[in-house]
């Protein structure tokens, strides 16, 4: 019992150090539980949503309506449903896509309000409703008809409400989805039919063949290639990865810190430990006592962290549900994660602290009672350095670094970790900005893209003709890509080689994103299969373009038509600088670059808050780590500091000599953090985008590196300020009263 009192009193004496270590345990447990449990809950909710609401496996549209869908359903054991959609302009910049109330596939769930009851009612996706301040019960007019907003809904087909299945920037200000009864769409001429299908067997190919026997598939998008459905998976992967790696990193750092704290404590208490032996305490009791320091931090820290994690999980999931169009989510505590979150710090701390304590207790009690043995050997590294010619300050600092090398090294690692966290936020933002700027400003030189629902022939009245079709790689059917045929001299899309030379469309060009995935170089060939026609052919890549959006191949339009068996002068897409008056019924899709750019700006906006939050978190973690380490350094050097005071050194001079050099380790940690962040962010972004058809190149703006540098350096100086009092408080009596080295 008295030992317990000693334990709490020791913690109280060094409360700042123990509290900081405890805080790191809390942060790691909170992050672990919040992120992993939120990720697992999201996966569960998403699976349930997909299953209960019958998410499509693919969607397609054909040249003529299917004659006997029932027959196809029976023959291939699939669920097939014809659905209708119509894009209605609400104003110059806003389109609302009305889709028919489906019965079998992509059923909607009501988030707020009621299900559709009458033809005059409409259900909106929640992002669009919020962006346009449309509340339940309000009326809205579309194409001259007045609808009452019955509520908001989520449908598995538009979890991420993108205008195009291959898009990647949602913008609720400019685009939204709504559900109305099918009869309404039937009345409107321009409504466009498409089919959704759910497979039970692995007979996708045969099904497509059967459809193309009597018809032509103009567009086919598998669920896996549909960004509206798959984007969320990347984000969930990202959140889970963060939950698994970030807390482990923090725990490892905390483990080292606790070991240093304990080692220091035991070294100071050699005499006490020896006395405890002499008083009859058993080794096991002493081990238990010192293990209790780590155990108390681990148990209370992980308990508090898990509770905070649970509280944090809810807003995290809510922000997911808000960003994506998801129904209300069920939250399960996820006991395995709960238990791991609670036990992880203990699993991390106890074995190593046990080894540490045992090592100390191997010293004979008599030696312990004398305060340990004096070291008589000189460190080999210290001996190596002959510093006579250096000035004293440099000599002193070099000696100090050599002696405190593990501490200073660990300080650099701690800073590296905090820098990684900080830079990761900036790199994510800069990479996405680069991706968009590179593509929208340098690649796409048009304003409007019109995709027809049937092959067009001849020359378009305005704009530049092109044709696109979805393909899969013959050897790897999971790898889909888009081949676009363009006329040589096309100016709507402009590509540059990796060395910055402009590429002409008289050759086959693969973009960098796809080339990286397939490991293709100029001159390599690959076999591809058209997902619409089933046609397979070989393509030899002439150039790699420095573009990362989508998995793309560009080739001359003539060659595209020839390889796919399309009429020589046919095309499916028109790029134009001006708005074209093309009847709605002829179009499968219409998109505007400015929508995408404003969508990007919209999407990047919360990222800015996220970066500020991450920067604050990184600064706090950096301050905690640096505070403990520098405070420990001061404590370990207290005798030297005390002696220097007696010898006539001013506090600022002592600070410069004993602590000041650590800023170089802080800078070193930050500099090492830059390449480490590049590598780890690249790995993270690759895993996030693994199921998306984009590659995000890892880029960072030097200004942001500079900002991060100042944040870290600022954190260091805050730490120095916090520790200044500790240095000032060291009494000269320590050196004067010293009885042993």
């Amino acid at each position: 019992m008295p030992l317990w009192k000693k334990l709490f009193r020791t913690i109280a004496e060094k409360k700042a150090q123990y509290f900081s270590a405890w805080l790191l345990v809390v942060i790691s447990s909170a992050l672990f539980y919040a992120f992993t449990a939120a990720g697992a809950n999201l996966v569960d909710n998403l699976e349930t949503f997909y299953q209960e609401n019958n998410v499509e496996d693919a969607r397609f549209f054909v040249q003529h309506p299917l004659k006997s869908p029932q027959q196809l359903e029976d023959r291939f054991h699939v669920q097939l449903e014809k659905q209708m959609s119509l894009d209605v302009s609400m104003d110059e910049n806003t389109d609302l896509r009305l889709i028919s109330n489906s019965e079998k596939i992509n059923q909607y769930s009501v988030i707020e309000g009621e299900k559709l009851q009458t033809k005059d009612e409409i259900l909106l996706d929640q992002g669009f409703a919020k962006a346009h301040a449309l509340a339940v019960g309000e009326e809205m007019e579309l194409k001259g008809k007045t609808f009452t907003v019955a509520g908001t809904m989520a449908t598995p087909a538009y979890i991420y409400p993108l205008k195009s299945t291959s898009g990647f920037l949602k913008n609720p200000d400019a685009f939204g989805v709504a559900i109305v009864q099918e009869d309404i769409l039937k009345k409107w001429e321009n409504a466009h039919d498409y089919y959704t299908v759910r497979f039970q067997e692995d007979n996708r190919g045969a099904f497509k063949e059967a459809v193309t026997e009597q018809n032509q598939i103009l567009n086919w998008v598998d669920k896996e290639d549909n960004n509206r459905i798959t984007f969320i998976k990347g984000d969930i992967t990202g959140i889970k990865k963060m939950g698994e790696t970030l807390p482990i990193g923090i725990l490892l750092i905390t483990l080292v810190i606790i070991s240093i704290l304990l080692w220091r404590l035991m070294k100071k208490e050699y005499v006490q430990i020896g006395t405890l032996y002499a008083l009859g305490y058993k080794k096991a009791e002493i081990i238990r006592h010192y293990l209790s320091y780590a155990a108390i931090l681990a148990v209370t820290g992980s308990l508090a962290g898990t509770v905070i994690g649970w509280l944090l999980m809810h807003p995290l999931m809510a922000s997911f549900a808000h960003f994506y169009n998801l129904p209300v989510l069920d939250t399960n505590p996820y006991f395995p994660y709960l238990i791991v979150s609670f036990l992880l710090p203990m699993v991390f701390f106890l074995p190593l602290t046990y080894l540490l304590v045992r090592r100390v207790l191997k010293i004979p009690p008599v030696t312990l009672m004398k305060g340990g043995t004096l070291k008589t050997k000189v460190n080999r590294i210290e001996r190596l350095f002959k510093l006579r010619k250096l000035d004293f300050k440099k000599k002193f600092i070099t000696r100090d670094i050599l002696r405190n090398l593990p501490r200073s090294g660990f300080l650099a690692i701690g800073v590296l970790f905090a820098s990684l966290l900080l830079l990761m936020g900036f790199i994510t933002k800069d990479s996405m900005t680069y991706l968009v700027d590179e593509n929208f400003e340098n690649v796409y030189h048009y304003q409007y893209e019109y995709t027809f629902n049937q092959l067009q022939t001849g020359e378009p009245e305005h704009g530049q003709a092109a044709a696109s079709a979805p393909f899969v790689v013959q050897d790897d059917e999971d790898q889909s890509l888009t081949i676009t045929g363009l006329k040589p001299g096309n100016t709507a899309i402009q590509l540059e080689s990796m060395t910055g030379e402009e590429l002409d469309f008289d050759s086959v060009i693969m973009n960098k994103s796809l080339a990286e995935k397939l490991e293709i170089s100029p001159g390599d060939s690959l076999e591809v299969t058209n997902q619409l026609s089933g046609e397979t052919f070989s393509v030899t890549v002439d150039h790699i373009a420095n573009s990362y959006l989508g998995d793309m191949i560009y080739m001359p339009l003539k060659k595209f038509n020839q390889l796919n068996g399309y009429p020589e002068n046919s095309y499916t897409t028109v790029y134009s600088d001006q708005k074209l008056d093309i009847p709605q019924e002829k179009l499968a899709a219409k998109s505007e670059i400015s929508d995408m750019v404003s969508g990007f700006e919209k999407m990047i906006e919360p990222l800015n808050y996220f970066i500020v939050a991450i920067a604050l978190a990184a600064a706090v973690i950096a301050i905690i780590i640096m505070y403990i380490l520098i405070s420990l350094m001061i404590e370990e050097n207290s005798y030297k500091i005390s002696l220097m005071k007696v010898l006539g050194y001013h506090n600022r001079e002592i600070h410069k000599l004993v602590i000041g050099y650590n800023r170089w380790f802080v800078i070193l940690g930050f500099l090492l953090g830059i390449p480490v962040t590049f590598v780890s962010t690249s790995a993270l972004l690759n895993s996030v985008t693994a199921e998306m058809n984009i590659t995000i190149p890892v880029k960072i703006d030097w200004i942001n590196i500079l900002i991060s540098f100042f944040v870290i350096l600022g954190a260091y100086y805050v730490t120095v300020l916090l520790n200044k009092r500790q240095l000032k408080k060291i009494s000269m009596q320590e050196a004067i009263n010293r009885s042993t080295e």
């Binding site: 004096l374 008589t376 510093l387 006579r388 004293f392 006539g648 050196a735």
Partner: protein
């Protein structure tokens, strides 16, 4: 000879175990320049408290301590630092060397902040440590470490050398060597030396012997025939 140190009516009390303990009571003493003075007294007599107060590492409750004409009890922290830096040298019982600095560097620790320090190599030679400049403290014997400690104190040419039980951790022959070295430094650099000890034997080398008891000066006796340390008995 002129006065270097004058202590007038100094009192100092501590809180010990919840009750006040009078460490120094109305202490008066003065020391001339170049003198070797031994302050003798048993444990708890207040000799260390007095040394610390004279060395500017501890404050007194009242009274005055004039060193080279300046009352250091009126000094603020920064003035006290400068005072320790310029006027005083300390020699400790346990040498108090910094273990990861070599002999040369330990001495440099004080020469670095001195206005006109002595040449370190010459000093190392003078204290009998020739060829040991690059050794670390743990590679030296106790006597050698104390020599470094003396060199470190002397390098800045202090007016007052304060020695706290300088031979307390050494055997008798090494003790004589160390005392002899202190004597040499006193002669060579005209440094005033104040040694506190409970070892009666050391008094033989002193010009004056002050005895403290219960925080008061019990006696202040001039030694008419100081003996060179190497000739001391015991």
């Amino acid at each position: 000879m002129s006065k270097l140190l004058e202590v007038t009516g100094v009192n100092k009390s501590y809180q010990s175990g919840g009750s006040p303990f009078q460490a120094l009571s109305d202490v008066h003493l003065s020391i001339e320049r170049g003198e070797i003075v031994v302050i003798l007294g048993p444990s708890g007599s207040g000799k260390s408290t007095l040394l610390n107060a004279i060395g500017g590492v501890d404050q007194v409750d009242d009274g005055e301590i004039h060193v080279a004409g300046e009352d250091i009890t009126r000094f603020h922290d920064n003035n006290l630092v400068d005072y320790r830096r310029e006027k005083v040298g300390f020699v400790f019982q346990m040498y108090n060397l910094i273990p990861n600095l070599t002999v040369y560097e330990n001495i440099e620790l004080t020469s670095h902040i001195s206005k006109s320090p002595l040449d370190i190599d010459e000093l190392i030679h003078a204290v009998g440590l020739k060829g040991m400049a690059d050794r670390f403290p743990r590679e030296l014997s106790g006597g050698q470490q104390q020599r470094v400690s003396i060199a470190r104190a002397i390098v800045r040419k202090p007016e007052l050398l304060l020695c706290d039980e300088p031979t307390g951790a050494l055997d008798s022959s090494t003790s004589k060597e160390i005392l002899s070295l202190i004597h040499q430094m006193n002669q060579k650099y005209n440094t005033t030396v104040l040694i506190i000890t409970h070892d009666q034997g050391i008094t033989e080398m002193a010009d004056r012997i002050i005895t403290l008891k219960d925080g008061r000066v019990e006696s202040d006796v001039k030694n008419e025939q100081p003996v060179l340390p190497e000739r001391m008995e015991g």
